[in-house]
């Protein structure tokens, strides 16, 4: 559809090819919508290039080297040496394979791809500046638009990512040597995943966290399992301290912190990784020209179909207010928005959003905690199964942690789950599905689970909530 001779037209324009945008574009094209996807940097967005994927690849390498080097107990004697630049190259290979795959999948589904940076001209057109010199620009008119421009890392005063010793998570994932001493500012999930990774790769890691525990937002008994293991790995954690600045020293750098009552501390390091959060990218594309307005933190508010206040413009992923900044949320929102454009009766109606943290051990959570359930007016009943009572966990030599299931006492409906332990990120899937299905404790408990698997612990936790666990004592 050509509109005049200056502008191209498209039924649906998707801005940003992260897990929100590319998934939306593919699904829209599958539904017969003429779809154009514009991306200024790299297919796959933060997730594939600088986030989920590279971090998990490094974690695999770090885990393997660390485990093999610490398995004398099992009769395995090895002294693994990690060539960090080789590990990085392998990781980059994984990223390339996946981003190449995304591009191919878009094309195979008939999505038009445009490289460039989009800015709104008005509520039915964007101007796209192509990258590279003299590449010029073009105008694209659209009937519908999905904003999926994602997020960027937050900078804090005193730490400029332009300075070589100051790392963002992206810099950390690009490292081709392991720093001897690493200070990590922020004990959230990204900070803890990277702390664990670098500690296992041989760095002396110090974590500085403003709050009084790592992994704010997680229950203390969940965080405790990860904290204990981090301590065992030699990670030094300091709570109630905010990083205030850093300076060069003869030998590396010195990072300074401050407590609430003004007490100062100093930590020697070679690099300092600042991982205090991410903020939405909504300030660089003239959203006002489209009649849009972000909240004071930059988020866009949307309805259950992911429509913004301007009805034909949708927003998905990290730019969206109120839903967690996670890749699978972005993708689900992308699917909902795309199908809504196609006229399907959809809504973002998920009962519960699972989340995982790839620390050691992993965390997987979904839905309500016991406290959430109480607050929501349920009378919760809780069941737990420690992995040290799981045959499979013992045979993998990873038996820290537990599965906890939260349900409504009267109806038995599963409301939430918290898992910390081996493969928690995978195990949470069954419970997320149980919640979506409106399943009861009895449904989970009476389903046969393969022996020996970690998934049996999910069943046992449900049995425990019913007062009839076999492999753990019932309270």
């Amino acid at each position: 559809m050509v509109v005049g001779d200056i502008a191209t037209g498209t039924e649906l324009l998707v801005i940003g090819a992260g897990p929100g945008g590319y998934v939306a574009a593919i699904r829209a094209a599958q539904n017969g919508i003429d779809t154009t996807l514009v991306e200024k940097d790299a297919y796959g967005g933060t997730c594939l290039n600088y986030g989920c994927i590279p971090s998990k690849a490094l974690i695999t390498g770090a885990n393997l080297a660390h485990e093999a080097g610490n398995a004398e107990e099992m009769g395995i004697h090895a002294d693994p040496v990690v060539d960090m630049s080789q590990l990085r190259d392998w990781k980059n290979g994984v990223v390339d394979q996946l981003t190449g795959g995304v591009e191919k999948l878009c094309k195979a589904n008939g999505v038009n791809l445009i490289e460039g940076t989009a800015r709104f001209k008005d509520e039915n057109a964007v101007r796209i500046a192509h990258g590279g010199e003299g590449q010029g620009s073009e105008t694209i008119e659209f009937e519908h638009c999905i904003i999926a421009t994602g997020s960027r890392v937050i900078q804090i005063p005193g730490f400029d990512f332009g300075d070589e010793p100051v790392w963002s998570s992206r810099d950390a994932l690009e490292a081709d040597t392991v720093p001897e001493r690493l200070v990590v500012v922020g004990g959230g999930y990204i900070g803890m995943e990277l702390s664990t990774t670098f500690a296992k790769l041989g760095a002396d890691v110090t974590v500085v966290e403003m709050l009084d525990d790592i992994l704010p937002g997680y229950e203390s008994d969940v965080a405790r399992v990860v904290r204990k293991r981090a301590e065992d790995l030699g990670i030094d954690m300091h709570f109630g301290e905010g990083a205030s600045g850093w300076r060069e020293e003869d030998d590396g750098i010195m990072v300074t912190t401050e407590t609430e009552d003004g007490e100062e501390n100093e930590y020697r390091a070679d690099k300092v990784l600042v991982a205090v959060g991410r903020s939405p990218v909504t300030d660089t594309m003239d959203i006002e020209s489209a009649g849009l307005d972000a909240d004071d933190r930059g988020f866009l508010s949307v309805d259950e179909c992911r429509r913004t206040d301007v009805e034909h413009i949708y927003a998905v992923g990290d730019v969206v207010e109120d839903t967690p900044m996670l890749a699978h949320v972005a993708s689900k929102e992308g699917i909902v928005a795309a199908e809504h454009v196609a006229g399907e009766p959809v809504a973002f109606d998920s009962q519960a959003v699972p989340a995982a943290v790839f620390t050691d051990p992993e965390i997987g959570t979904v839905g309500m905690t016991e406290a959430d359930a109480e607050e929501a007016g349920f009378t919760p009943v809780v069941g737990q199964m420690p992995f040290r009572a799981s045959g499979r966990a013992l045979t993998t030599n990873h038996a820290d942690g537990f599965v906890r299931v939260v349900a409504d006492e009267e109806s038995g409906f599963v409301l939430g789950a918290q898992i910390v332990g081996p493969e928690a990120s995978e195990l949470i899937a069954e419970l997320a599905f149980a919640i979506e299905m409106g399943a009861t404790l009895e449904d989970v408990a009476s389903t046969i689970h393969t022996h020996p698997t970690l998934a049996e612990a999910v069943m046992e936790a449900a049995e425990n909530a019913l007062g009839q666990a076999i492999h753990t004592l019932n309270r």
């Binding site: 038995g412 299905m437 399943a439 009861t440 009895e442 449904d443 009476s446 389903t447």
Partner: protein, 78 residues
């Protein structure tokens, strides 16, 4: 598969808790019209069928042991 949630071979699609409830209430799942997606049988369907039956709570069908001087007998639970 028919609207009643039963597939070839009379297979009925219903969650474990619903299947157990059906046994408890003495309802034959095959005879229930499922109101769930694709005819999946729900708890409500089984309860409704039990009431329609008029017989309501038939009680469990398993044996229960009754002790008589160290000897045993098997009885239906009442």
């Amino acid at each position: 598969a028919g609207d009643d949630g039963s597939g070839p071979g009379g297979r009925v699609f219903a969650p474990p808790s619903v299947r157990r409830l059906a046994r408890e209430l003495g309802v034959s799942l095959e005879s229930v019209d499922g109101s769930g997606p694709s005819g999946r049988v729900t708890e409500g369907d089984v309860r409704a069928a039990a009431e329609d039956d008029g017989e309501g709570d038939d009680g469990p069908t398993g044996p229960r042991t009754v002790q008589t001087n160290g000897k045993s007998a098997t009885a239906k639970r009442d």
